[in-house]
């Protein structure tokens, strides 16, 4: 941040955000998100910020958010991937065909516990290989990523069509469907335990970072600032868990469950959904991708290549192979997104993932990823996906006509980039 260099001259007026070393861009995005939420909450007479809607919003965001984290790497290395929606469709088709036709033909009956893991494995392999192939075309054969993935957009959409004859494939394996959202949640107790573990992990990470800086005699934030950061992390995580736990499973669903077990539901029995497994998957993806971006050589090379490809090459980084890796990661994430998207529908449909490429790119860009390369964050992309989804479902709830919904989303994308450009100009953060 350019403004950081000025702190020396205006020490007295250092504000609280600077002391906390918050990213101003992140604050802006959170501000925009809160604004969107409040506006829709008012417009819908308080229906927007209910546990039920927040739960739905969360599971609707997962698929795009997972892919957006990979798109950050692609865009940071100055490439683009227009094929993610189509690749999602191919991965989804492959997984659907594997579990409904190929594995049963090999003797694994419907309901076998092996079906879901094997189908997921095949899907991830498919996504990874196709992504690596894209990366090879871009990195080694030097075909522009725009062209490779524009071609891929047509190819993979129609490979999916060909594989399934354009038919809807389902129902998918019950275990597979657990990753779709409402079909598989952790329940209240497990969610609280997970929340507490997450808070502990966040506090440990903050503490560890401080200790590393002290060990090397660098300046550190005041203790109260670290404490405040920990408190904010704790409130956010536990608040999120509490909200998802507050969304209660409808009575008739519970009654049916008890019936199925041959029991009678006690009076006044309630149960919250808690964290969906799909959200857990997104959290895992986000943590791993953030670690890759910040704490591994691979991540360092991705950002270095985006900042100055020649410098990266001259520093001994194999930028061609790096491109293959970046696109392979994107492919694997498309497969995971396909898993969540098809599991949520409980079947594979021919139009699954249509227009997702645009949503994913928009999420990454709204999240502060610079198309010029070298700049971008994983949390930003996820927040971008959340903002896009909030806009979309908020407008649907308010009753905005479908064409206007897309007009608004498109305009917001352009506006977000304009604001970003103005922001960078002001801070000199070109």
């Amino acid at each position: 941040m350019a403004e950081a260099s000025e702190t020396g001259t205006s020490k007295g007026r250092q504000n609280i955000f600077k002391t906390l070393e918050f990213d101003t861009r992140l604050l802006g995005m959170i501000g925009a998100f809160i604004l969107v939420c409040i506006v829709f909450n008012v417009l819908t007479d308080g229906r927007f910020l209910t546990p039920r809607n927040i739960f739905n919003l969360t599971i609707q965001t997962v698929s795009v958010a997972i892919m957006a984290t990979g798109m950050v790497f692609v865009i940071v290395t100055r490439h683009i991937d227009l094929s993610v929606g189509a690749l999602l469709a191919t991965c989804s088709a492959v997984m659907a065909m594997t579990q409904t036709q190929i594995l049963p033909a090999l003797g694994l009956d419907y309901g076998s516990t092996l079906i879901a893991p094997m189908a997921i494995l095949v899907g991830i392999l498919t996504g990874g290989l196709i992504g690596a192939f894209h990366g090879w075309l871009v990195g080694y054969l030097t075909i522009p990523a725009f062209i490779v993935t524009l071609g891929g957009f047509l190819v993979w959409r129609n490979v999916a069509w060909y594989l399934t004859n354009g038919q809807t494939i389902g129902p998918l394996d019950p275990n597979f469907q657990m990753l779709g959202g409402i079909g598989g949640t952790m329940g209240e107790t497990a969610s609280w335990i997970f929340g507490l573990l997450a808070v502990a992990a966040a506090c440990y990470a903050i503490w560890q970072a401080r200790r590393a800086r002290i060990a090397h005699e660098f300046s550190v934030k005041p203790l109260w600032a670290e404490g405040l950061l920990m408190a904010i992390a704790g409130v956010l995580i536990l608040g999120f868990v509490a909200t998802l736990n507050a969304y209660e499973v409808p009575d008739r669903v519970l009654a049916r469950e008890f019936e199925a077990r041959g029991e009678v539901m006690p009076d006044g029995f309630t149960q919250g959904y808690g964290l969906p497994f799909s959200v857990l998957l997104l959290i895992a993806v986000a943590v791993v991708m953030t670690l890759v971006a910040r704490r591994t050589r691979l991540g360092r090379y991705i950002f270095a290549t985006g900042g100055n490809p020649d410098a990266a090459e001259l520093s001994g980084i194999n930028t061609r192979f790096l491109t293959v890796k970046v696109f392979a990661i994107m492919g694997v994430l498309c497969a995971l997104a396909a898993l969540v998207a098809s599991a949520r529908l409980s079947f594979h449909s021919n139009d699954i993932g249509t227009l997702d490429e645009l949503r994913v790119i928009a999420a990454a860009v709204i999240g502060g990823t610079a198309l010029a390369g070298g700049i971008g964050t994983i949390y930003g992309a996820i927040l971008g996906a959340l903002i896009m989804q909030s806009l979309q479902s908020g407008m649907a709830m308010v009753g905005v006509d479908a064409p206007f919904q897309n007009i608004v989303v498109g305009s917001v994308l352009v506006l977000a980039v304009l604001i970003d450009i103005l922001y960078r100009k002001r801070t000199g953060d070109a």
Binding site: A2, H216, G306, D310, L314, G316
Partner: protein, 254 residues
């Protein structure tokens, strides 16, 4: 005076590079001894950068061979060059603008923790140590290097070469973008590196810098070597006429 009786640190023999039909480097031989600074001079397009990029691994040569400590080596890419302790400071300052000084210094050779993660704190500490030696005024460790001045960026680039124990250093117009004070700093740095026994190839446009900094000068014109002279034996007029006319002075021999 540099001792040139032993085996040269680097010998580039009969190197040729063509781009399409154009011979950018035409059967050129140069050598470099430990603790010596050899200037490479010539007009734009004379082939000096192309020649030296064969040594740094940015280009591969069509013919000829490179010997280090008298042994033939195969340099296909920058990674190979680094293996032979060849470090290059490029005119365009090959730095990633979006990363901080420590990340740039260790780019491609990050320090990692036991778990295989990059150790940012240790890299920053090492960077502070070496910058304290080279450029004590350097304070911007947390900023991306695009926030730095030309001299500060140059010192990051030089620190990178020094930190990794370069034996052979290639500098492509290291002072071109710098003010007088910063130029002086770089000149002192070159002297310091020489004293440590590092051999330096210095690509330069400015004849006066060459007279000040170099022990020998190799002049190229149109891809061919005009000649190599002892800087102490010639005047800047002689070197200029080599660059412009492509004529080697009668008196000088090296």
């Amino acid at each position: 005076m540099v001792d040139r009786t032993g085996t040269p640190l680097v010998e580039m023999r009969d190197v040729s590079v063509s781009f399409g039909g154009v011979k950018a480097v035409d059967h050129v031989s140069v050598d470099l001894y430990p603790g010596e600074v050899v200037g490479l001079l010539g007009h734009n397009g004379a082939g000096k950068s192309t020649l030296i990029k064969c040594l740094s691994g940015a280009y591969s040569m069509d013919a000829g061979e490179i010997l280090i400590d008298g042994k033939t080596v195969d340099i296909q890419n920058p990674r190979d060059a680094r293996k032979h302790n060849i470090e290059t400071i490029y005119q365009t300052l090959a730095l990633a603008d979006n990363l901080d000084a420590a990340s740039n210094l260790f780019l491609g050779r990050e320090l990692v923790t036991g778990a295989g993660f990059v150790d940012d704190a240790r890299m920053e500490a090492e960077t502070r140590k070496i910058m304290g030696r080279l450029n004590p005024n350097f304070k911007k460790f947390a900023d991306p290097v695009k926030a730095l001045s030309g001299g500060q960026r140059q010192s990051v680039a030089i620190a990178r070469a020094v930190y990794f124990n370069a034996r052979i250093l290639i500098m492509d117009e290291p002072t071109a973008a710098l003010g007088p004070q910063e130029t002086k700093m770089v000149a002192e740095l070159i002297q310091q590196l020489k004293d440590q026994g590092i051999g330096i190839f210095l690509i330069e446009h400015d004849v006066h810098s060459v007279m000040d900094l170099c022990d020998r000068a190799s002049v190229m014109k149109n891809g061919a070597l005009v000649g190599t002279v002892n800087v102490g034996d010639v005047t800047d007029e002689d070197i200029l006429s080599m660059i412009i006319l492509g004529k080697k002075p009668e008196t000088a021999a090296a």
